[in-house]
Symmetry: C2
Subunit: 543 residues, 2 copies
């Protein structure tokens, strides 16, 4: 990368490997993430080519206990929500083009048959909508930014979509406590930019930040890039407002950091994927925005060395370590081929890492980072490295991590597995999966082979691997070779078959690989308690 | 404090207020906290003087649906648990002296009538005990270190005590992930010392650490001194094992940082005070142990300045700030009178703060701390201050904060209120309470007045105040003057009537001041779901 500080060059010039500081350390904020979601216009044009989920999952049948939408229902909702823009009506009017973006997902993997989209603007409207649906037994799907990866936010059959995009107000921010209160439909990046004006940071960052809603983030317990530093939403979400299927408004929108007065019910809604209630507002603890952020990008020769580098980063960078991301050589080659960008390092390496620090003092952070770099390069843990020198380089390095999903999406289909595995075996899954597919004769460079590449990357600091199998087209034989083999592999290591993406429709069949029977039984019991008519996001999560 | 670095002296010698570094910065670990709990021997001798809870709360009646213990029950338990030491039998044998420590709490405020204490050693034993109790409808009270403040861990009537002290094994610790797995009955300080050997830290610290159990900490969602830095247990607890009343073992003892496969049921047990199940093991994410810890102690002239100091600490110390504790002048005078120790600062101030930093680089931390001190002293936010120079001073300064509870306990009774209030009004509650009690003629220096002092201190960084009214003896008139007035005061500010101590029997009547009717209804629904026969810790938490 021109102008960036090449660490191996610095090492070559000195006997004691001490990386030189060629210019001022980077002072910048978090990377502007790739916005994943398609625009509505794109989706509208292309959605008709997407296979219906009901065809892709022939075993999933419409629950005949659900009522079918009538013209009376539609006129009821129209009068309830008032505004013309609040209802997309494909029942009594022809809204086919308008409604398609709400029926399908950005990956073009899932497509439903809804004929009605409702966009409430207040919690009371949500309450009235759900109460009516529950009484009529009309199934619904809550929908945020629709950026999910497991088909959780689009209908399967004719479920009514309750889209949250019109509930997008920020209620309050308190500088002393760092607590933000906002509607569920606020876009993550909008929330973070608002916080930036107050020198604070949203404690969550992910690729879809330009489209995803904070309500959706909480509903899916999104993990992302900052979990290593700021912890999970179960810790940072202080309060919630949600509406139960019967219309009950659960007002637990506390802004208190500590409140031990009874069961912490709000926790149940975090990660429930809209199956027991609909989150309408969120109160969240936000940390001060770091004054200095640095990023280094390494090439390494083995996964053993990646682990060593991580342990060193954890010990030496400690309180300023804000990301430790793993990318394998294949994933970086795909980004290179997709973007045409020059590699940050000379030559190719089997593994790459991106290490980010965030702190309150640029000089201290740089001193810690230099000492860490000196160690990992001096000990030969890291083969080569580069340190961003300005915000442009900072963003550019992050794109080698964040651009993987997009690079893959240009190549055809991708079988995506988002898993937690104990660190020592984290990458072994990629090796084993590749070997399995090679042995079956599926992998090759020319178009006669279904599989183009087996790629691994992810959040090393959270033991969270993204295994991606890039295929020229979706192929049942390939899928059968991977599943349930991949889940069995994970189960043997007490891992999770869905670390951060959730269950949706894609993973619900496989919950038994990461949860025992008792847990699944207890989950069903809770679902029955809160949603006895099963109207909330049916066909998803748990059966 | 002799030898400690007096900051005002340093300031006096320089025009630009730059605190001098008189010796090496303190490198030490967390303070050795005061052990609150009485020893068994002390409790045995004194417990008979404690008023029975059933007398103190005449409105609470024994639930007649519960069975009474028979000789058959006792022999069943004896054969089930095997070991002689596993059963303290006051039913078929005279175990009066032996059983009393399990009947009463360290504050000498609560005393029950149990005649049977069971000490299971395995999860299977807990399961068999609970299954039997549930079938026979025998009420039980789970008991950890019995260090609680709201009477949650002692019986009211003849509930069987299930004491967890024999389940005290550490299962595993993983250096790479920092995840500790341990039995519920492991003492907090033992867990922390074990982690110290592996350069890690338990992400919770509190005064009772020498006696309290980690299972009890999780059951009560304990807050304590490190929450500001490491967040709540809802974020750091990764997994739990618990036993439901019907004997079902809930194996959710995951060690994964990320696992989005279904409802996060373990969250329900965190802070449930043993009312829906009994926690038998815990898996928890532990941070690397800080290499450098520093502590400063300030005197300030107003609460406005305390707030300014806190905001400056949050902004400037940022990622290394690990505690910001508030103590009012009166609380420090009590510690002085109780211990006879010389004040750390010359003269007296209306407010004091203790600021702790923890980081990975002693020089960086000291530089940040100095810059912070320079600012708050230069700007006149802090009137005087002292910085610990070695571990002895470090511990000594912490005792001015941690010794308050003990100092108060020597004076007679204490009405304790542990509340969350938005920061600007945090201390106003102490002022208003004092004014109210003065106006009623309750406060005075000689023994004719029931109230000796109204004291405020707490975890400023968490907006968590401990309001303590020190009385010469417990007095219904004083209590009536404070309650429900104090709860109404908190409710008006959307605060919490129990920030970290929980509900127990002391606060359960008042839940309505911090939770709305819908929330309480939903809580009861959950209690009924998990514990339909209401055998788990009855008379506590919610009604």
């Amino acid at each position: 990368m021109p102008g960036a500080r090449n660490l191996s060059a610095a090492l070559r010039r000195t006997r004691v490997p001490r990386p030189r500081l060629l210019s001022r350390p980077v002072v910048s904020h978090a990377p502007n993430a790739t916005v994943r979601a398609f625009t509505s216009a794109t989706a509208r044009l292309e959605s008709r080519q997407i296979k219906y989920t009901s065809d892709a999952y022939p075993n999933v049948k419409r629950d005949s206990r659900f009522a079918e939408l009538s013209a009376d229902d539609v006129s009821h909702f129209k009068s309830l929500l008032g505004a013309e823009s609040a209802v997309v009506d494909g029942v009594t009017a022809d809204a086919t083009d308008d409604i398609e973006p709400f029926n399908s997902d950005w990956m073009r993997k899932y497509r439903g048959h809804t004929r009605l989209v409702l966009k409430p603007q207040t919690t009371e409207e949500v309450s009235k909508v759900l109460k009516y649906c529950n009484e009529r037994r009309l199934a619904v799907v809550p929908q945020g930014g629709n950026t999910g990866l497991v088909g959780g936010s689009v209908p399967v059959f004719d479920e009514i979509v309750i889209n949250m995009s019109r509930m997008n107000n920020i209620h309050s921010f308190d500088q002393a406590s760092g607590v933000l209160v906002a509607d569920a439909g606020v876009i993550l990046e909008v929330a973070d930019q608002y916080l930036a004006q107050h020198d604070h940071l949203f404690p969550l960052d992910l690729g879809a930040k330009g489209s995803c809603h904070i309500g959706g983030n909480v509903s899916t317990n999104a993990g992302g890039l900052r979990l290593l530093r700021y912890g999970s939403l179960h810790g940072s979400v202080l309060g919630l407002e949600a509406v139960l299927p019967d219309g009950t408004i659960v007002d637990a929108l506390s802004t208190l950091r500590k409140n031990n007065t009874g069961y912490d019910l709000k926790q149940l809604f975090i990660g429930a994927e809209g199956t027991i209630g609909l989150i309408t507002a969120v109160s969240i603890q936000c940390p001060p925005r770091p004054k200095a952020v640095n990023v280094a990008y390494f090439g390494l020769e083995s996964f053993e060395q990646v682990q060593q580098a991580y342990l060193q980063a954890k010990g030496q960078l400690s309180e300023i370590l804000s990301a430790f991301e793993l990318m394998d050589g294949r994933s970086q080659r795909l980004v290179h081929e997709s973007t045409g960008n020059k590699y940050p390092l000379e030559g190719e390496h089997p593994f790459y890492c991106l290490v980010e620090t965030s702190g309150s003092n640029a000089e201290h952070d740089m001193a810690k980072l230099e000492s860490f770099l000196e160690h990992v390069m001096g000990e030969g843990i890291v083969a080569d490295g580069v340190l961003a020198q300005d915000e442009t380089q900072f963003r550019s390095l992050w794109r080698w991590r964040e651009g993987i999903t997009e690079a893959l999406s240009h190549l055809g289909g991708t079988y995506k597995y988002d898993v937690s595995i104990p660190l020592p075996e984290l990458y072994q899954l990629v090796e084993d999966c590749k070997e399995r597919l090679v042995q079956k004769g599926f992998v090759g460079d020319d178009d006669s082979f279904p599989v183009r590449a087996v790629v691994g990357y992810g959040h090393m600091g959270d033991s969270n691997l993204h295994l991606n199998v890039s295929v020229r087209q979706y192929d049942k034989e390939v899928e059968k070779a991977i599943e349930p083999w991949v889940y069995e592999w994970i189960q043997k290591r007490q891992g999770s078959i869905s670390a951060e993406h959730g269950l949706g429709i894609a993973k619900r069949e496989f919950i038994g690989y990461s949860q025992n029977e008792t847990m699944v039984k207890l989950m069903k019991q809770l679902k029955d308690l809160y949603d006895p008519k099963s109207i909330m996001n049916p066909y998803k999560f748990i059966k």
